[in-house]
């Protein structure tokens, strides 16, 4: 069973700051980590490999330093590392990113693609579903449990108040949530191999035969108009008096704020 795990390198913080002038994420001084959901994706892939054999490839699109994220995954047990790195990929929105990842996936070959549910910096949770669309694959999102016999997968898909049980034939794409498993730690030997013995395969736009109009800024139907850090919330106000008085005050305030007319 050949599995591709999509891995994003993200800043190690859940409250990323945005530069008010440029509208981009401030990444300086923030250490980078493997996107947390993606470690669960990798763990599941490694377990499947242990059961069915085959190969686990970790795939990332990003700047050269995203290599570190791939090496960490390799230290955990991934066999191959592929980094998509090209200036032409820059400025990609989720649509262009998922196209690019999809083209690379075609070149690698797969029975199953596993993505994290969402990245802690971008937060869109769109990459997995869009990749599946690009590749015309069945997709199951929010997966909290997977079973497979190597030909099909049966997943529990988390909902707010329960879960759906969904079966899909392979090849397929799933996006996974943290409840799925507990990711393993890299082993010391894995670290040695990841850094001294294994190589990261780096592909540019030409290597994956990408259509130039589908990648990077040009391939992105959306563009960022403005990014901003939300204003901190003001202090809450406690109303006093009898229930009747408080209700009256509340109605006035809500009208003030145009919540009621």
């Amino acid at each position: 069973m050949n599995i591709i795990v999509c891995v994003k390198q993200v800043p190690d913080t859940t409250d990323v700051k945005i530069d008010p002038k440029t509208g981009t994420l401030i990444r300086e001084g923030v250490p980078s980590i493997v996107n947390p959901d993606d470690k669960h994706a990798l763990e599941e892939a490694l377990r499947m490999k242990e059961k069915f054999g085959g190969k686990v490839t970790v795939l990332s699109m990003g700047p050269p330093q995203a290599e570190d994220a791939l090496r960490e995954c390799s230290a955990m047990g991934a066999d191959d590392m592929v980094l998509l790195c090209d200036r032409a990929f820059a400025g990609a929105d989720t649509w262009a990113t998922s196209y690019t990842l999809g083209e690379a996936a075609k070149k690698i070959g797969y029975d199953l693609i596993i993505c994290g549910r969402e990245a802690i910096d971008g937060d869109t949770a769109q990459i997995g579903p869009q990749m599946a669309e690009h590749l015309h694959l069945p997709q199951i999102t929010y997966v909290k449990n997977v079973e497979t016999d190597g030909n099909k997968i049966v997943c529990e898909r988390a909902l707010e108040d329960g879960y759906e049980k969904i079966e899909a034939s392979l090849p397929a794409l799933i996006t996974v949530i943290a409840d799925l498993n507990k990711p393993r730690y890299p082993s010391v030997r894995g670290i040695v191999e990841a850094y001294r013995e294994k190589k990261v395969t780096v592909w540019n736009a030409k290597d994956i035969c990408a259509d130039g109009t589908c990648i990077g800024m040009e391939g992105s139907p959306t563009s960022v108009k403005r990014s901003f850090a939300p204003e901190p919330k003001g202090k809450g106000e406690v109303l006093k008096g009898s229930v009747k008085e408080m209700s009256k005050q509340l109605v006035v305030k809500l009208k003030d704020k145009n919540v009621l007319r």
């Binding site: 230290a75 730690y185 890299p186 082993s187 010391v188 030997r189 670290i191 040695v192 990841a194």
Partner: protein
């Protein structure tokens, strides 16, 4: 000269820290209180390759460098010094001499299982009357045909009752003094091998030390490690490396004491402001940070010397001497920063203080480190 870790070393630190914080931190206070050996987390550390880090892959280890090893012991000891010594003994006192002096058959049978984390090992040198004076071995190995008959006892042996493999020192020829000592690698299930009483200790309570007693224990001649009479040299060479592990343990304890102090000083208020605003407290913090940094440089330097194949007897002795002293001072002052609360078991600094003391004692007391350093400088 460059003061930066390699990416690989950073990854080791990150992994060891994550493991220690997630797996060990939740149990550290409890296993200390109950003096319980943490078999499960020790097994997990072994499975991840932390018990034979620098042993080459073909012998079950990971082929990692010595600085990474020091970093791993430091990070684990930052959370629990008991796990730290368990690791240090397996890596430095068991795997290293087997790798350095063992035959291929000995490596296959004894090194592989320890280095790959399947079993633990221990190092039996100290006896009731042979502590600092390790040369006065009363344990005797008498050769009879193709085996040795060993009688005697050891004390304070770390991991002993949990080990499958013992690196054992015994007199093969008393007339030759220290040149009459030999080293054996012994299966713990050998008839005549028995475990004595367990030490009750003030610190590193979740590590285990016991007596070992040997009564007419028959050990095959092929289990002689190195040559007959080479034992004292093997012991001293092994302890040179062991000291890097213990220095790293001391460093981790000191680092933990420092971090707890910073956290507490910012949050505890007296006279209407955080105690961190008082210069007296600030000076504790700056002293700790400065000394810990100096200790870290000495520890990594010693590990670097070893990794590069340079002489490291003196740098390792300096690292252990200094780092253990820093650990004592940092933990003592960490309690001071915490005031009365630091004296209670509600705060981890109480444990750090008790744990720090042993680093001045085992694998050569501080006095011994100074003797080693002076011996080198004045020769």
């Amino acid at each position: 000269m460059e003061f930066a870790l390699t990416k690989e070393q950073e990854m080791v630190r990150k992994t060891a820290r994550e493991f220690a914080e997630k797996e060990i931190a939740p149990i550290a206070a409890d296993i200390d209180e109950r003096a319980e050996f943490p078999a499960e987390t020790v097994r997990k550390l072994g499975a991840l390759g932390f018990m034979g880090m620098t042993v080459p892959k073909e012998w079950g280890g990971s082929g990692m460098d010595d600085i990474s090893y020091a970093i791993a012991v430091e990070e684990v000891s930052r959370v629990c010094a008991s796990h730290g010594v368990t690791m240090s003994v397996c890596n430095s006192l068991v795997c290293w001499p087997l790798m350095k002096f063992g035959t291929d058959a000995q490596k296959e049978k004894y090194l592989k299982p320890v280095a790959s984390g399947k079993v633990l090992g221990c190092f039996g040198l100290t006896e009731p009357n042979a502590g600092t004076d390790a040369g006065s071995q009363a344990t005797v190995a008498r050769k009879e045909g193709d085996k040795y008959i060993i009688n005697g006892s050891k004390v304070f042996i770390t991991n002993a009752s949990k080990s499958d493999v013992t690196i054992l020192f015994a007199m093969t020829d008393k007339s030759k003094g220290t040149k009459g000592i030999s080293t054996f690698v012994v299966d713990s299930n050998t008839p005549g091998y028995s475990i004595g009483s367990i030490e009750k200790k003030m610190g590193i309570r979740a590590s285990i030390q016991t007596e070992l007693v040997f009564q007419d224990m028959e050990v095959p001649a092929e289990n002689l490690l190195g040559k007959e009479g080479q034992g004292f040299k093997i012991a001293m060479a092994t302890l040179d490396g062991g000291r890097i592990g213990i220095a790293a343990q001391a460093l981790g304890i000191a680092q933990a004491a420092y971090e707890e102090s910073v956290k507490y000083a910012k949050q505890r208020e007296q006279f209407g402001k955080p105690i961190s605003s008082f210069q007296a407290i600030q000076w504790f913090i700056s002293d700790m940070a400065t000394e810990i940094d100096a200790a870290r440089l000495l520890v990594y330097k010693a590990a670097f010397d070893k990794w590069k194949g340079r002489p490291y007897t003196t740098s390792a002795a300096m690292a252990k001497y200094f780092a253990s002293d820093v650990a004592m001072k940092a933990t003592r002052n960490a309690i001071q920063v915490h005031g009365g609360y630091g004296f209670t078991k509600d705060y981890a600094v109480e444990r750090f203080y008790r744990d720090a003391k042993i680093t001045e004692i085992y694998e050569g007391t501080t006095e011994v480190q100074k003797m080693v350093i002076a011996g080198d400088l004045l020769k």
